[in-house]
């Protein structure tokens, strides 16, 4: 079950915490990857660490022109594209009253618009192949909201609505479109939080601990697999029970 050998995937934000965990999980199941990210050094280092026959495709997701070339580049490098993982995301937190236009725009552009552009480009080859798996990483915050993250929450909720629309368009062609909504996942970002804050955070999580990158990787493997072909337009919440939606 959930064997991805012979399949290819493009993963954005692949050198980040959750992105690298997803890449590891897909690679472990046999998929060949195009790893994308904005930090070339980090990306190459991660590719080397991962080993195998993967390719690195650096891309600045706030540059629409560059984003539009990413899927064609991945198809060229991998020969075909079975799986698209829209994982890359940025935060520019601020209270709504103080939020700058640039903070709003930057988050929407990278988290939502780039995902749209990649989905639009991937839809064609996937439709032709009568097979495709599109998975976008959203956030529990897209469903529950979070103070200081109007832009981020909007972008993540936007991914969910967009995925449901595309899921309906492509369902008859064997292409599924789903989201994974992580809760609090242990990362470089959460590691530096003061203990008191970590405790307050885990107190809200029935599982009593933060999630790990692999928890998201496993969800991605499932949604990318042939076995998940009848699951589309869904959001898989991976959050230790902190929000049951």
């Amino acid at each position: 079950m959930f064997d991805l050998s012979g399949m290819t995937a493009l993963v954005t934000g692949a050198s980040g915490g959750i992105g690298s965990a997803i890449a590891r999980s897909l690679s472990a199941q046999g998929a060949r990857l195009a790893l994308s990210g904005s930090n070339v050094g980090k990306l190459e280092a991660f590719k080397a660490e991962l080993g195998g026959d993967h390719v690195a495709l650096p891309c600045n997701l706030s540059d629409a022109g560059a984003v539009d070339t990413l899927v064609p580049q991945a198809v060229e490098a991998l020969g075909k594209l079975d799986i698209l993982i829209n994982n890359a995301g940025v935060t520019r937190d601020n209270l709504t009253m103080r939020m700058k236009d640039e903070e709003w725009e930057q988050v929407i552009r990278v988290n939502l618009e780039a995902a749209f552009r990649l989905i639009r480009a991937a839809a064609k080859p996937m439709m032709k192949a009568r097979f495709g798996r599109i998975v976008s990483i959203t956030s529990v915050v897209g469903a529950t909201g979070n103070p200081g993250q109007a832009n981020y929450a909007a972008s993540k909720a936007g991914l969910v609505g967009m995925s449901k629309a595309v899921a309906q368009e492509l369902a008859s062609r064997g292409v599924t479109v789903n989201c994974i909504a992580p809760g609090f996942i242990r990362s470089a970002m959460t590691d530096v939080l003061p203990d008191a804050q970590k405790e307050a955070l885990t107190a809200r999580i029935p599982a009593g601990k933060l999630g790990e990158g692999e928890d998201i990787g496993a969800a991605a493997v499932y949604l990318a697999s042939k076995e998940a072909g009848y699951v589309t337009g869904q959001t898989l919440h991976v959050n230790g029970g902190m929000a049951m939606l």
């Binding site: 439709m127 492509l170 008859s172």
Partner: protein, 78 residues
Amino acid sequence: MSETADRVRKIVVEHLGVEADKVTEDASFIDDLGADSLDIVELVMAFEEEFGVEIPDEAAEKITTVKDAINYIDEHQG
């Protein structure tokens, strides 16, 4: 009937799963042949592949009948 027309009709029959005799030149993809908008996108992709032509979105929107497709391809094939 021209060679282009034969190949276009063959693609339409294959993609839409309709009887060959229904695919007349005046047949509308949506009204007569039961295509939906996604089928049209796929037909256009198949035409592009078969004939090596580029059919931009603005042109694709105007292709509503079998004849429209044949004419576009005949005019733009290199």
